[in-house]
């Protein structure tokens, strides 16, 4: 058993988790709930073991480096962080339906890592620019932030679906959407998740700046990756200010959660492939 196999398995287990949470949401069979949770926790542990093993394998290959240095490894970590944050939310807010909207992100990330062409799964040694203690701090903090924003976007989608059905006042929403948490609760969790993500994104940008300064002698050079991370930061800063001081809520915040996540995806993925810059390590 090697790390690629373990990580490969997770793709399918997260697909199965997604199906379980979707079934829970659609059929409202309460017995599926604990099953979905237990299954997701097992899948999460398998992935954790896979990432750990990949780290170990890099030592056996004489490189000894954290598995956080290219597109494949970062997407795998992204999926891992999404599940971690989702499980914390499930435990904290005692609601499972969110899983139907959050776990699919982890599955999609894993499917992309496993099947997209042009993604190297090989463990390769670190190029000089990446040989730094800041690598782990920077990547981990950024991706915890990204994962929180992914979950917040899932919550935003939930909010919009539930909100549309409530404004239509359809009588049959008790069958399907009735199982969703109340709008107030959804809004509260969305907000809290975004706040959590904002803190980690801030730390991620700061650790990136410190790293850049120790590698190149400049902590900020307006390179596209840096600039897009700042644009994302601005979007969430706007969202938080609009909510705290201008009382924005409901659909606006839900849309901003989705919009913010699109910016996250562009920062993470789009910049690597569409724009040129210093920060091109993640693109293969």
């Amino acid at each position: 058993m090697n790390s690629s196999q373990l990580i490969g398995i997770t793709t399918f287990t997260y697909l199965f988790s997604t199906i379980l949470y979707a079934a829970l949401f659609i059929f409202k069979n309460k017995r599926l709930g604990p099953l979905a949770t237990i299954f997701t926790i097992i899948a999460f542990l398998v992935q954790t073991a896979g990432i750990g093993l990949r780290w170990l394998e890099s030592y056996q290959m004489g490189m000894g480096r954290a598995p956080l240095s290219n597109m494949y490894e970062s997407v795998v970590f992204f999926a891992w962080a999404i599940i971690l944050i989702y499980l914390i939310i499930e435990w904290k807010f005692k609601t499972r339906i969110i899983g139907a909207f959050a776990v699919p992100f982890a599955f999609l990330a894993m499917a992309y890592a496993s099947f997209a062409s042009g993604i190297t799964k090989e463990i390769v040694p670190l190029i000089p620019a990446l040989q730094s203690n800041w690598l782990i701090a920077h990547v981990v903090t950024c991706f915890i932030g990204y994962a929180a924003f992914a979950v917040a976007a899932g919550l935003g989608v939930m909010y919009l679906i539930k909100n549309t059905s409530e404004t239509r006042q359809s009588t049959n929403d008790s069958t399907l959407l009735g199982s969703l948490p109340p709008l107030k609760v959804l809004e509260d969790i969305t907000h809290k998740t975004m706040v959590f993500g904002f803190l980690w994104l801030s730390i991620g940008i700061i650790t990136g700046a410190i790293w850049a300064n120790s590698a190149w002698g400049t902590y900020w050079s307006w390179d596209p990756k840096e600039t897009w991370s700042l644009i994302t930061w601005f979007i969430y800063a706007i969202t938080l200010h609009a909510r705290y001081t201008r009382g924005w809520g409901g659909t606006r915040i839900a849309w901003l959660a989705i919009f913010g996540f699109i910016s996250v995806i562009f920062t993470y993925y789009g910049v690597n492939f569409l724009l040129s810059g210093l920060h091109s390590y993640g693109s293969n």
Partner: protein
């Protein structure tokens, strides 16, 4: 500051903050799509003369992020931050320093969460036991006697109300650090061949020469590869010289620079030459000679009369990994041998032995930066993280207990409280607290 004038009001408004952030976010996109810091000709080739001109007039090229209008937007954000914080902070400070024992009872009666119970003890003794109980749970209570009873008040995290202002100040500190850096520092580079010394570096933007005030020498540059051919390390052995004397030495790699007198040298690039550094030692006489020799050219050593040439070389791209050396001291046949780059070998000749070492010559590309604002920026960053944690995850929690005297010498107790954030959590804390102390 209540009857504020409209200009003050404009700069203090959150609306302005939202607009500024929105414009910063949207305009920042432009510079990520249109490549920055290219030459005039590059833009003309890529976009055509008219569009390139338009970009130039709008200061989108060559460097949008240092253009007047973009810096003005950042400046506007700063003014907004300052005025907004000055506008709101006094009110927040009053809340922090407020005399909560003067809170009207009518307000306390309406506050939630709330809890009421009776005690068999008279108010004075009830108050003192409650105070001790609160104390043991980390709530330091203050006390004041009112007409009809005693009011107790305790709070936690009053200073956490400053969290958001810590974040605002942190952004200003970061900007201050950036200004210090750009006013008093420089970003420069230099291409320094091995064995050479320089006391000048050249700025990025204008290529103006900057005097270091000391000298830096590249003693040696080494390129290392992994087995699979990927670059492993770019290593420059640098020496700092003052008045011709070495005062500091370090082998720098990417991510591990050398600093001297506030100036830092970063490994940035390299350039291979078609020349070789050769050192030869005569084992008998100990005579040591160093030369720089071009590829496939014969060199005669002045003192020893040796002749040497590099007649063949192998390597990756421009980088040589081993070379074939031709050497003669005119006693017997010339020696012909392969030598790995940077290695040393002993050559046995009929009358004498020599140690020969050779390596390809490189120039190391150094980025040279002086940034006295960097620690100010880092302080700002630390403040920001601190401020965000305080602003988002900590709250100002207050509890009041009003102990009213009953006609029969007993007392009735009203306990209430509030928190400025995370109210759900506070209600839990409040409930647990009431359950433990209302048995008293």
């Amino acid at each position: 500051m209540k009857n504020k004038n409209p200009i003050w009001g404009f700069f203090a408004s959150v609306k302005l903050a939202l607009f500024t952030l929105f414009f910063l976010a949207t305009t920042s996109v432009i510079g990520t799509i249109i490549p920055q810091k290219e030459s005039v000709q590059w833009y003309i080739d890529r976009y055509g003369e008219t569009t390139a001109n338009l970009f130039h007039i709008l200061s989108i090229t060559p460097d949008m992020y240092t253009s007047g209008w973009f810096l003005s937007l950042l400046g506007l954000l700063c003014i907004n931050l300052i005025i907004c914080s000055l506008d709101r902070f006094p009110g927040v400070w009053r809340q922090i320093k407020a005399d909560n024992l003067a809170t009207p009872l009518t307000r306390l009666e309406k506050m939630t969460p709330q809890c009421q119970w009776q005690s068999d003890n008279p108010p004075a003794s009830s108050a003192s036991t409650l105070k001790t109980a609160l104390n043991s749970h980390g709530w330091k209570a203050k006390e004041r006697s009112l007409d009809n009873g005693i009011l107790l008040f305790a709070q936690k995290g009053a200073m956490t109300r400053t969290g958001v202002y810590i974040v605002h100040v942190s952004i200003l500190v970061i900007f201050a650090g950036a200004i210090i850096g750009s006013a008093l520092g420089f970003k420069a580079s230099v291409m320094l061949p091995e064995t050479r010394t320089t006391d000048k570096v050249y700025t990025f933007d204008t290529h103006a020469a900057i005097d270091l005030g000391f000298e830096v020498r590249c003693d040696r540059f080494k390129l290392e590869f992994y087995d699979n051919g990927m670059p492993k390390a770019y290593r420059s052995h640098l020496s700092i010289l003052e008045n011709g004397k070495v005062v500091k030495e370090k082998a720098i790699v990417v991510n591990d620079p050398l600093s001297y007198k506030g100036i830092t040298f970063y490994q940035s690039s390299y350039e291979p030459y078609q020349e070789f550094l050769v050192a030869i030692t005569n084992k008998k006489t100990g005579l040591n000679e160093h030369i720089i020799i071009p590829y496939r050219e014969q060199h005669s050593f002045e003192k020893s009369g040796l002749r040497l040439g590099i007649i063949n070389a192998e390597g990756r791209g421009q980088s040589i990994s081993r070379m074939k050396i031709w050497l003669t001291d005119d006693n017997g046949e010339p020696s012909l041998f392969w030598l790995d780059d940077g290695e040393q070998v002993t050559v046995e000749r009929t009358k004498n032995n020599y140690t020969v070492s050779a390596k390809q010559m490189y120039a190391t590309g150094l980025q040279v930066a002086k940034d006295p604002g960097v620690w100010t920026v880092y302080t700002g960053c630390a403040l920001m993280i601190l401020g965000l944690i305080v602003a988002f995850f900590m709250s100002h929690q207050r509890i009041w207990l009003y102990i009213q005297e009953e006609s029969n010498g007993k007392s009735s107790i009203l306990m209430t409280g509030n928190a400025n954030k995370n109210k759900v959590n506070f209600e839990k804390t409040f409930q647990i607290l009431t359950q433990t102390i209302n048995r008293i």
